[in-house]
Symmetry: C2
Subunit: 339 residues, 2 copies
């Protein structure tokens, strides 16, 4: 028999969940009559309090651990929102930790979540993370692991990503088709796969359209800030007066770059056309509005939770499953920073 | 005797926490020798697995529930970051839920967190929340409750806030001292205490400086978006051509307003001086840079966790305590949108 829930007890007796809960805990402000009714129903219907205590029958805690590099970031906070939204629908709670882009902290947090007996772990890797042995621990503990956005290719688990290479290709090709001949790229840090893939997409588009790839036109951003955008824009126009296009791996950096270019008297898009990445809400608010690649954060969060939920169900039924790579669609959003 | 932790077992034997954990769980990839060593030490030293299972001795789950109106919001994501940062230091995990500014959802989430046996709850109220009976449930369940930013005055619990009235006063007085005579205010929604207090501070500053309060100069923002800023700026200059100052209850709305005012040919600050609220990182990036009130989100998160941790310790020692109201300092950040 499926155990009755506190909600069902409350509904059956026409009382609030909080009264039912207090009745079971013998609170003085609940009448003796209600206490008796609640306790009898709970006993007859096999009520099992739904706490963090691992359910002895199913061995579930109904909690999922989430490790994210940085919470204060438009894309990641959207992902968290999507994960929590979907988890709540399925009666799961999410424990969020922030790795702060640190490999050591990420490693420690995985140990912590495993020791707390979460049912599974969702993770997006820190920029610093090169060695991925710590992720294997999760699999060795027989817990489902789903990676999203910043993944490690060599870990055999499900992944939710966008096609970063294709998106980088699309962004660069849009600049080429707008007439740009000398296109610079402000890329993300060296380790994360998504920064590598966007850069590969940029190179591929140049090649496809018979434009020479010039490594001097590629600048590596490490802290992905507005200030980095202004800094590299200044450097770019000092070093390469002939640049007429710029593909930037994040909208924030792109907006920093545009601010600096405008300050120095350049017209956007007439002198230099710019494409960003992520479709941050500010990209439609700045002047000129920013052409960008829409990266669906909320959808990514929902998809990551859906996948781990699926894997938990496979395990319950003792069925085998093959890890999946889910690729979410991106789209070019054409605005005024390209002609 | 204080029970040994898994970390201490690992350190004593010079193995990793993950190996120690696997040894206890009889994983095949750990040697029999290691398993025996780990199990003997665990038995001798009273090892107790640190899972979500409520500790039978202390009755703690070492998890705190957090209900936040909106995760994708610069101020709130900073608060979450501060809470998680401080909680991790003290060995607590944070379960985050988003009320989505809905009273009904907020109520349901409190029931959910209580049923999951969290040790306490941190909450910032939804804009919709007027009735606060659901918060009393937490206190009746004998769990510590700490409210932050959007609080309910009549609930007897600890609160972490800024002095919104004083901050509103400071912002408005700065405009007056810059020479403004007709100052408009874009306020937040009608229910939240912080929007009321900022508005009161605005009124108080006008009165103090013998400027007439004109209700027609006050516009109520409900979704607190960039678009609302452009919308009300358009309305403002149509309806009141003589306005020379504007105090806006959020930076995002203020930036929306400035964008529209510039578009219509107004000079900022020469024609209209503008002060925002929160010190969002973009406020130093826009043109002109935005004068604003710095609202310390990360500090607020840390202070909220510190307070609930203190209250948990009082309870453990069975000492009584009086709820506290912690007021964090704000500061006027002078930039180019005021003369």
């Amino acid at each position: 028999m499926k155990p009755i829930t506190l909600q069902e007890i409350a509904d059956t007796l026409g009382i609030s969940v909080s009264t039912a809960s207090k009745a079971l805990k013998n609170y003085p402000d609940v009448s003796e009559e209600t206490k008796t009714l609640v306790k009898e129903l709970a006993a007859t219907m096999n009520y099992m309090p739904n706490s963090f205590a691992v359910n002895l029958r199913t061995k579930e805690s109904k909690t999922i651990g989430l490790i994210i590099p940085e919470i204060v970031h438009y894309f990641f906070s959207n992902v968290i929102k999507g994960i929590i939204y979907q988890a709540e629908k399925k009666g799961y709670l999410i424990i969020t930790l922030q790795s702060n882009e640190s490999y050591q902290l990420e490693k420690k947090q995985i140990e912590l979540l495993l020791s707390k007996n979460v049912d599974g772990i969702l993770i997006s890797l820190a920029n610093e993370t090169a060695d991925v042995e710590h992720l294997k621990t999760i699999i060795e503990h027989n817990k489902p692991l789903v990676m999203f956005d910043r993944i490690a290719k060599k870990i055999n688990c499900s992944k939710v990503v966008i096609n970063d290479k294709k998106a980088g290709y699309t962004a660069t090709e849009h600049l080429i088709e707008s007439g740009c001949k000398r296109i610079a790229h402000f890329r993300g840090p060296l380790l994360p796969q998504n920064a590598i893939d966007r850069f590969q997409g940029y190179k591929q588009a140049l090649k496809k359209h018979n434009l020479t790839f010039d490594p001097a036109l590629v600048y590596t951003c490490n802290d992905m800030s507005f200030e980095e955008g202004t800094y590299f824009a200044k450097k770019l126009i000092q070093e390469h007066k002939d640049v007429d296009g710029l593909f930037v791996s994040s909208d924030l950096i792109a907006i920093g770059a545009i601010t600096e270019l405008k300050k120095q008297g350049f017209l956007i898009p007439e002198d230099i056309a710019v494409v960003g990445f992520s479709n941050w809400f500010m990209s439609s608010a700045v002047t000129p509005t920013l052409t960008t690649i829409d990266q669906p954060g909320f959808e990514m969060g929902k998809a990551a939770f859906k996948q781990i939920f699926k894997e938990l169900n496979f395990r319950k039924k003792k069925e085998t499953y093959t890890p999946k790579v889910i690729k979410l669609k991106t789209a070019l959003v054409k605005r005024d920073s390209t002609p």
